[in-house]
Symmetry: D3
Subunit: 282 residues, 6 copies
């Protein structure tokens, strides 16, 4: 994540540090009145996929540039319970003051990456790719979308200006997909991808006629999806959607679709339990 928009990342981390510190960490500052070097270990309390090592590091670096973090795994690697993932070295004030914020970032990111990896694995051999959605935690999207990628997923649009997604409301208001697409082509540059969300086979055909780039089959039954796949016949990218969780996607394995998108990746993955332990004064 090092080459992502550094400014944006640092700004969000700084806000989070500010939120967690308030004026000062009175517990640490009471106990340690002088500079004191220390080190501590980042230990996994359950297995998972690492995502966010750079972010974890920045949480400490933004408190003090001289804190040193060494990771023994890279983003995307799996780890097991009890694995030592990293060592943090520096003045004890910064280690303890930054601990909670750094873990709050890392645990959530590992949670998303781990959940995504499971879904990706479940679809292995099918060619179906896993997409995230915009159902992300407010002001945390850049981190969650990155974690999806680390887990093996792909990112759907980042925001509302990224691509055109025509939903039922747009289509109804425009008087059908055909009109909607026409208005879109007039308004936006041709260069924007157009996706249409459809709910039945008639809409599939209409979308196909309008040459949208992607057709999203929303909450369709397996049977309907199979039918839709035939109709589309490779003339548009196919994305399946609709409350898809780990439990439900097994049924989709056999389908000849391109993508499934799942809000659960970013809103229901939970965290991976990690801990900063074995603090040692040096």
């Amino acid at each position: 994540m090092k080459w992502y928009n550094k400014n944006k990342i640092d700004r969000i981390i700084n806000m989070a540090l500010d939120e967690d510190i308030g004026y000062e960490d009175i517990s640490v500052n009471s106990i340690f009145l002088e500079e004191q070097d220390a080190k501590a270990k980042l230990i996994a309390k359950e297995s998972g996929v690492l995502a966010g090592s750079y972010v974890f590091e920045r949480c400490f670096k933004l408190l003090d540039e001289s804190v040193n973090i060494e990771f023994y795994k890279k983003d995307g690697n799996t780890f097991e319970k009890q694995d030592v993932l990293a060592t943090v070295k520096g003045d004890v004030h910064y280690i303890l003051t930054g601990e909670r914020t750094a873990l709050n970032f890392l645990q959530r990111m590992c949670g998303v990456a781990t959940y995504t990896r499971k879904m990706v694995n479940q679809l292995e051999g099918t060619g179906i790719k896993v997409l995230d959605t915009r159902k992300t935690s407010p002001n945390f999207r850049i981190f969650e979308k990155y974690a999806v990628k680390v887990g093996g997923g792909k990112n759907h649009r980042y925001n509302l200006s990224d691509l055109v997604l025509l939903k039922d409301n747009h289509i109804a208001a425009a008087g059908g997909i055909g009109n909607a697409v026409k208005r879109v082509r007039e308004y936006t540059p041709y260069i924007k991808i157009i996706e249409a969300e459809v709910e039945n086979l008639d809409m599939v055909k209409e979308a196909l006629d309008c040459k949208v780039d992607i057709i999203m089959l929303d909450n369709m039954s397996i049977k309907e999806i199979e039918e839709a796949v035939k109709i589309i016949d490779k003339k548009a990218i196919i994305e399946c959607s609709g409350n898809l969780t780990l439990e439900k996607i097994e049924d989709l394995r056999k389908l000849d679709i391109d993508y499934i998108s799942s809000g659960a990746l970013t809103h229901s993955s939970g965290i991976i339990d990690l801990s900063l332990k074995e603090l040692e004064l040096l």
Copy 2:
């Protein structure tokens, strides 16, 4: 939440809107070239506890002051699947552009409140209160802590300058709880509450000797906790902690403790599925 720090709330919502909008909602702006009044319903797709109605409203109001939201439930009320929770009325651009951000806030807040309510209910009749932790989503703490309260829980410290919490690392570095508490009393105003996290009965006694206000029994067995309760004998507030989820707290019902604190409230509650539906042009 209306009388919380409005400035802070609006700032975070504005950032989230900015994150989701980018330059413009090209889908909506393509379809609707003129002002167009509309209304839509906020519908529950599963049961839960409402939390965040004010925040949901601000998401639209910050786009356009004249959007009108009417809620049929108040924060803290329960709702069932299919319940219409609110009606949103205003220019269709603002309704559709603000939809996802408003839902992202509300769904997470309802998730936290619902999970908390379940835990509170499970402890009903015991006098034990449920506390949150600092294991919150970065830059989202004010909303999650509020949702915990709405669910019937209580808020532990907001940040590191709020109260003193002496953990193993502080205690070890100071050379025992006694020394640690002494340093704390010198450094901070007496007016700060002091809590000590203890892991065994010897530490309980030591903490008690130092007259800390709250003793946190961390990851102790039921048996140890019972022993600790006797030793403390009402001379300090007792908080139990350690990966407490809905599944595990049943065993704690019979204990004579004051609080249990649970990170799961804010990091593993998941969301409550809500949807903006039945958009109607007026």
Copy 3:
């Protein structure tokens, strides 16, 4: 522009007002010690295309919500020298204090729209569309890209995460377009459009083989472009680029290409001279 990201627009305008005001407008505040209603006319001192009426209005509204602006033209309309474009009514302090900032925005936006319109007109009947670039004024892109649209042009990517544009450096580093595209498809979601910048016919063929979505012919001669068009044969979108100004595009009229992109639209359009005149105290 009313339905663009309002938060972003207001933030930039507020910064600009802050830049221009400093502590206070000492000239106005010296002269007018009390509230004083006034009105003034926005007058064109040369002909052009209007773009930015909403932004002009916000410059005053952000000083005082009760200032009232009535425009007699809409964005996209042409106007002639001496035309009265709008009337501004409100407390004289806000009218005079906001004047320069409002004009600085509007004049630049009209400049871009007018220049774009000329280029679009020159290509009339050809089907070739005009695209902008990222060669915009720092922190002014949202306004300049909007003005391009108002002028009849289309917007190329807003920023570096919008679409993939493979230039000579990327291609060389990857070892050819083929490798570059392969890496891109692995890294980004399929859903991103891929454009390749090519400088000769061999590269055109290579790009075509990789199935990029858009091929940008950079600084090619008319003859080469004609050759490229034949090779591409409608299998990719064609964009021509390379210091294209109003003077040079006449030659491109006869070519069967999709887009020409021009940095001049946003970096060399100049302004349209507008003035706030005939201030009248009420």
Copy 4:
């Protein structure tokens, strides 16, 4: 520009980088998956005056402190087409991600400096100095005013609290220059310079009677100006203004005036075409 308000400069550059990067540069990040040192040359594609080398450098330094920029010219130096102005060395991600923003700043600043230099040269030997105005690009004033200085010009007021400039509207509302100046002297500290904009010889006399520091002759004919110069007779500083471009100032050479001010310097100078070329991986 190194000793200007660093905080302000960095804030504006960071905003511009954020604007151009979005989440990440997907083109660069696709191609280069590991750290990769590189260097590139900043080459002039037309002749001009250098202004903004420090700003160009900061654009990269704010992405990564270890990027190294060596300039072969200093601000104020002229350069010719094909001149290598600087070498940029560092990780290829930062070079390519920062390129466009750095050039957008530098090209505009060189444009302003070059245009100003031409105007200054045209007035050489006359003692007449060239002033800018407040007709600058929003949020870009500090860079444009600096570039004017580099080009040999002088800066008129930075903002509305800088000095008092009495225009027609103020004068009319106060009931003549005399009253206006009186009010100004009461309201502001004496220490503010007072300038009056006059449109005819009567106003010149009135302004002179009030002992304003500077008299701005706005849109007067050469003949009127000559008359005004005589009347003023060195008792006030004389500034000529009114759509003065390179083409029009030749006529002013013979006049015994102190300053000419020109909005064109910052709103119509255009850019100087510069390019980052010959990227070489190290």
Copy 5:
């Protein structure tokens, strides 16, 4: 202060409200669970000069636009102990939550205005004007400088880019006032006022020779000042400076100088005790 830079004022007030509120006013929010209209009186607990009524109002308005404040005095008016200065009406949450911040602003501003007024009165009849300095509270300058004006004083430069002030260090480094002034005239526009700080009569003469606009006699004895006044002989503005407090300026009354500047105005004026009392629920 209504026509000062509103954006800047609101930003500073919002920061201060945020500083004082934290997450919420738990005292008020505990007691009042529903909306509750109320009113309260702003009462003077000692006599003074009112300054900051607009700022006081904004502190409440920024919490809730519908809070209503009616002032019975205007900025610049004097008041006596026990005077009711204003009534605040609105929801009790906003009145009590905003109270401390609003008073913190107003008390300091009245303190500065009152102290300034005393100094101005003490110099009455002499023609000597009172100037402030840059020795202001960080991030509070706009309010303190305004209060100085309300008190009858004048504002010296707002910041370091406002006018040139040559002190001993500059003069020594340049090799005398002459050289310093020469460099200044080359670097800055002529339009900047130049002031020189001098410590003895030789420097006075040198400064006079260089035609600086203002000569600041720093820490000179009455006798030296009298001598300097003769030497300067109206050819420059004279400012006296050097730890001038209310107690010391009596001696300066007889001198023929233009200004005295005093840091004490903004760093040692203390506050005027004001209180929000007699809260009444409506």
Copy 6:
């Protein structure tokens, strides 16, 4: 102060530097056209207690990381008139540009610490501790509260969410202290400290009955306080308040109370006069 919230501190200092610099320090930049190393001494012009050395250092470091400051005293140490407190070394531009802002911070902080120290000393041997209030300079609280601690005082609540303080208005609205405390215990976590402000002995008894943690005796006579002390009988912490200045606290020495709180510490302490002198070019 090094381990306080660094982000918050730097943000406030940066704002203050921005406020004082404007665009550039035209005096320094006129005189010194090239880099020029220099050093200067920070000299006390009166005796006092040092507070803010870290903040003073940051004012320069935020302009240029390579400026070096060596302090000869530590925060909390006393110093005498003429003492050299520190040496500042670095490029002369940064030393002179940062001077005023650095002194504005340091002088105020030393003022608060010195005043607090005097009050603390006056109470020596009594066991009574000195508390600050929320009557701080807007946006300067973190610095003033720190200075109080350095002076030997303790910090009362930082903000409105820190602890519950029931004042007359809350108590009246709730219908007595009893009801107020009950509501508070329902609303806030038990973990918040509750303080009640009382004005007479009946209220003392009522507060005691409700088991508030701290009773604040507001503006009571010595006699009443003695009575209250007896009634409270160590069952609550006692804080005395009400316009307590250095002059008035002598009378309180004999009382058996825990704290006195004084707004004067932060609103009427004045500054300690410090100066940057003996600038030497290296």
